[in-house]
């Protein structure tokens, strides 16, 4: 019976599982744990300005005070005393792939990042453990005034004031325990600024690779899309699997100015020993549009709910997401939206697949404030159960404080219908292929929102999961 869920596929997961040996000669690793001493050392290592050092220390204080939420997946097996907050290659960040250290470059080449940059991206950032090892933006995009750089350079360079103005204003360290931790030990990530009226035709991409066992990655992504501008940003992440827990507590802050548009796509394929406690938030101003496309496949445990604040009148958001929870995974994902402006609208559409004992939870909140007259929201969440040892839970919340709103919500949960499998088998497919095809079709609303090469990767990941890989 177990074989019913398997598809014959030619996917090789080993590309994600390659482990590079990090020796002391080439890599610097901070001692494990999260103490004031460690935070001061990180700040020193990174040559932080004074305000950032203070910010880190205050965040650490908050981290020590705040409690873990009681509503999400269990994190008891995540021993924070065994996590190193900072690991970096002793080589500096490079602007050319050929200058990146050979072993790191090989890893990114196997993941296809340089090739993707050549063929379909306007710029690439590649983070290895705690620091960016490569960052580059195409000349024609830079000439438009688009800034795409690593956070450290932005913090001390030409854009220092802008970073100071926006850094962790949308996700303050008080938000929750792991936002506070992020504020204390953040490292790496990207800063993007798209000037007024500039439309970036092809996407920018940041790829995050966490190679070190028992390490944390705390990258910070800050994107400002100025008035009337347009950007598609893609985020990818992976890590090899270890027998010890790894932690990802990144933070993404997105500012979408008047009449601008930002699409933020993520294919998350962390290894299955990863605790992914990530926070993403967008502030959307008048007439602007925020689009999220999110695929969650990896991680042992996830808390991930991108939040959109529709601040300006006529601002809109769309969230399209898929989560595939397989053996040993507890993926708690969804979206949050707050309607503040008038005539705002939101559309949330999610798919969740649970298999082989995996736990998939869709969790969301829609808040429509009293001032948000003529707000419209539509939420749709579908869950697919592939066996009876898994879980698929749907926990949406709505808080509506104006009568002048239009709220629609629907959710469905079910299984692959025998009739559909029978139909496909009668057309010559094996049962296993038929089931894999149905699951791919279920995920189609998400994959069609991705650029072709990422849709292919997502479908490959689905096939990989269906094969029990």
């Amino acid at each position: 019976m177990a074989d019913n869920n398997k598809a014959v596929v030619d996917i090789d997961r080993s590309v994600y599982d390659i482990k590079d040996v990090e020796n002391e000669q080439d890599f610097y690793r901070m001692e494990d744990g999260f103490t004031e001493d460690i935070v001061r050392k990180i700040s020193e290592e990174k040559h932080d300005p004074e305000w950032m050092r203070e910010f880190r220390l205050k965040s650490l204080e908050l981290y020590n005070k705040l409690e873990m939420p009681d509503w999400g997946p269990d994190t008891d097996d995540l021993d924070m005393n065994l996590i190193s907050s900072y690991v970096r290659s002793k080589s500096d960040m490079k602007g050319k792939w050929e200058d990146v250290p050979e072993d790191i470059k090989n890893t990114f080449e196997r993941l296809g990042i340089p090739e993707a940059e050549r063929e379909s991206l306007a710029g690439v950032g590649a983070q290895y453990d705690s620091e960016l090892v490569y960052h580059n933006v195409k000349d024609e995009v830079a000439e438009q005034g688009v800034v795409y750089t690593d956070m450290e350079s932005a913090l001390t360079g030409e854009y220092a004031d802008m970073v100071h103005e926006y850094f962790m204003k949308l996700v303050p360290p008080t938000d929750h325990k792991y936002a506070a931790l992020h504020g204390a030990v953040w490292s790496g990530g990207s800063f993007v600024y798209v000037p007024k009226g500039v439309k970036v035709d092809i996407p920018l991409q940041s790829y995050f690779r966490l190679n070190a066992a028992g390490a944390g990655q705390f990258e910070h992504t800050l994107i400002i899309v100025d008035e009337g501008a347009d950007l598609h940003f893609i985020e990818g992440c992976s890590a090899p699997k270890y027998n010890v827990a790894n932690l990802h507590a990144g933070c993404v802050e997105l500012f979408v100015k008047k009449n601008a548009r930002l699409r933020y796509s993520t294919i998350e394929n962390w290894s299955k020993n990863m605790y992914n406690l990530n926070t993403k938030r967008a502030l959307v101003e008048e007439g602007a549009r925020m689009e999220w496309v999110s695929g969650s496949f990896g991680s042992h445990t996830s808390y991930l709910y991108p939040m959109t604040i529709l601040k300006g009148d006529h601002s809109t958001m769309e969230y399209t997401g898929i989560t595939f929870a397989g053996k040993g995974q507890n993926l708690d994902t969804g979206a949050k939206v707050v309607h503040q402006g008038k005539y705002t609208s939101s559309l949330i559409s999610t798919k969740s697949i649970s298999k082989s004992g995996g736990i998939g939870t869709y969790r969301s909140s829609v808040i429509i404030n009293k001032e948000a007259k003529h707000a419209k929201t539509s939420v749709s969440c579908d869950s697919l159960m592939l066996d009876s040892i898994s879980r698929a839970d749907t926990i949406p919340g709505m808080d509506i404080r104006t009568d002048d709103a239009d709220v629609g919500h629907e959710a469905k949960i079910g299984r692959i219908s025998d009739e559909a499998v029978f139909y496909l088998m009668s057309r010559g497919l094996s049962e296993t292929d038929a089931r894999a095809m149905i699951v791919s079709g279920f995920a189609n609303p998400v994959s069609k929102e991705l650029p072709l090469e990422y849709a292919v990767e997502m479908n490959n990941l689905i096939k990989l999961e269906m094969s029990g890989g």
């Binding site: 939420p69 009681d70 509503w71 999400g72 997946p73 269990d74 507890n330 708690d332 949050k336 736990i359 939870t361 969790r363 909140s365 009293k370 869950s383 159960m385 592939l386 066996d387 009876s388 040892i389 898994s390 879980r391 698929a392 839970d393 749907t394 926990i395 949406p396 919340g397 709505m398 808080d399 509506i400 404080r401 104006t402 009568d403 002048d404 709103a405 239009d406 709220v407 629609g408 919500h409 629907e410 959710a411 469905k412 949960i413 079910g414 299984r415």
Partner: protein, 387 residues
């Protein structure tokens, strides 16, 4: 005494900022001076009543179904933020939870057990009417036990004068044995100075059926909970709730269908109207337990918002640990559609009259399901008066 307790726990916790994981009943210096021992208005053949049962008697009554529930437990983990352990001590899990049991036991409220004899289809509804007098603070506790292949309808009506002060807390537990059917109808038309809770918990064995109709039209602060375990194969739970909240009224509810047997069916409908500064919190959960293969569940919520000062909180949850199920929920929340208003106005009905018409239509769509014309007329009169 002071009442201070947390009730209506969401079966799986969610974000704290939604303030919907539970609800707090906080009433200071209340003097519970009486317990509500229902006078049945029409005695029926095949129905027996014991007004002095103890909680121990209730526990024994539910022993067999609780043992059956225990035997169905599997290794599939519960949902993230599972609150089930909070209510493990209950004889029967109820919507509002163990704190209500504790209050009843602390106040030594006797339990009235109404039993329908095996195979007996009780033809007329058992009517239980209660008028709350000014200053009354009372608790009531009943069990309705439908033995194998029996059927019983119980209508409970709570009334008071509009200016009456007081407190009324009711717990009703239901046991539908194999092939039995319980119809429970509650109509609440209390004055706005009364605080009220109404807690229901039920268990259905094989092919049993529990149907509830709940009209919540009055009281100041109301807490309501209803949790039905569809323990037996092919058991059924249907619920229809209608509510009308205005002024500063609040209505906090928690409905749960625990689908445990094979091929069980649940269908929950909630239809309400919020006016003025009313606050409503709705929690509705379909919980497909492992082993509930072939089960279906549906919950639908339809809320009409007629004030920009009203607050509507909705959490429709589906929990699922079984592959072969079909569960769905839908919610529609908003004001009167422009098309509806235009249609009404084109027929000479102004906006205010159109709103009243829609309120009455919504409430009557549930009230009409009550098998007692006199109560339907009283509901109509009550709505007409308050509007």
């Amino acid at each position: 005494m002071d009442i201070n307790m947390k009730v209506n726990h969401l079966p799986a916790l969610t974000y704290r900022f939604l303030k919907s994981n539970d609800s707090e009943i906080e009433i200071k210096d209340i003097k519970i001076k009486d317990t509500f021992s229902p006078e049945m208005q029409n005695g029926q053949d095949g129905v027996s009543v014991n007004k002095e049962a103890s909680e121990e008697d209730v526990r024994k009554l539910f022993d067999a179904v609780n043992a059956k529930a225990e035997s169905k437990k599997t290794d599939v983990p519960g949902p993230n933020g599972d609150t089930a352990p909070l209510n493990d001590a209950q004889s029967v899990r109820t919507g509002m939870g163990a704190q209500i049991d504790n209050l009843m036991q602390e106040m030594k409220v006797p339990v009235t057990v109404i039993t329908a004899d095996e195979g007996c289809k009780v033809s007329e509804p058992v009517m239980i009417r209660f008028d709350l007098k000014d200053g009354d603070c009372v608790l009531g506790n009943q069990v309705i036990h439908a033995k194998k292949d029996s059927e019983i309808t119980v209508i409970m009506e709570y009334d008071s004068e509009p200016e009456t002060n007081g407190f009324l807390g009711i717990q009703t537990r239901l046991l539908a044995e194999e092939g039995a059917k319980i119809n429970l109808i509650k109509v609440q038309m209390l004055g706005e100075k009364i605080a009220h809770f109404d807690d229901i918990g039920g268990v259905c064995d094989d092919k049993a059926d529990i149907e509830t109709i709940n009209m919540q039209l009055g009281a100041g602060n109301t807490w309501g909970g209803c949790r039905v375990a569809l323990l037996g194969d092919k058991s059924v739970f249907n619920n229809h709730t209608g509510y009308l909240c205005r002024h500063k009224q609040s209505y906090d509810m928690n409905y749960v269908a625990d689908q445990m047997g094979k091929k069980t069916e649940s269908n929950m409908v909630f239809r309400g109207v919020l006016l003025d500064e009313a606050v409503k919190t709705f929690r509705g959960t379909l919980d497909f337990k492992p082993g509930s293969a072939g089960s279906v569940g549906d919950e639908q919520e339809d809320t009409l918002l007629l004030s920009s000062d009203a607050v509507n909180r909705t959490i429709p949850v589906i929990l699922c640990g079984e592959e072969d199920v079909d569960g769905r929920h839908g919610a529609s929340i908003g004001q009167l559609g422009d098309d509806t208003l235009f249609y009404m106005e084109s027929r000479g009905i102004d906006e205010e009259a159109a709103k009243k018409l829609m309120i009455r239509a919504r409430m009557e769509s549930i009230a009409r399901m009550i098998p007692d014309e006199a109560i339907i007329i009283r509901i109509q009169q009550f709505i007409r008066t308050i509007l």
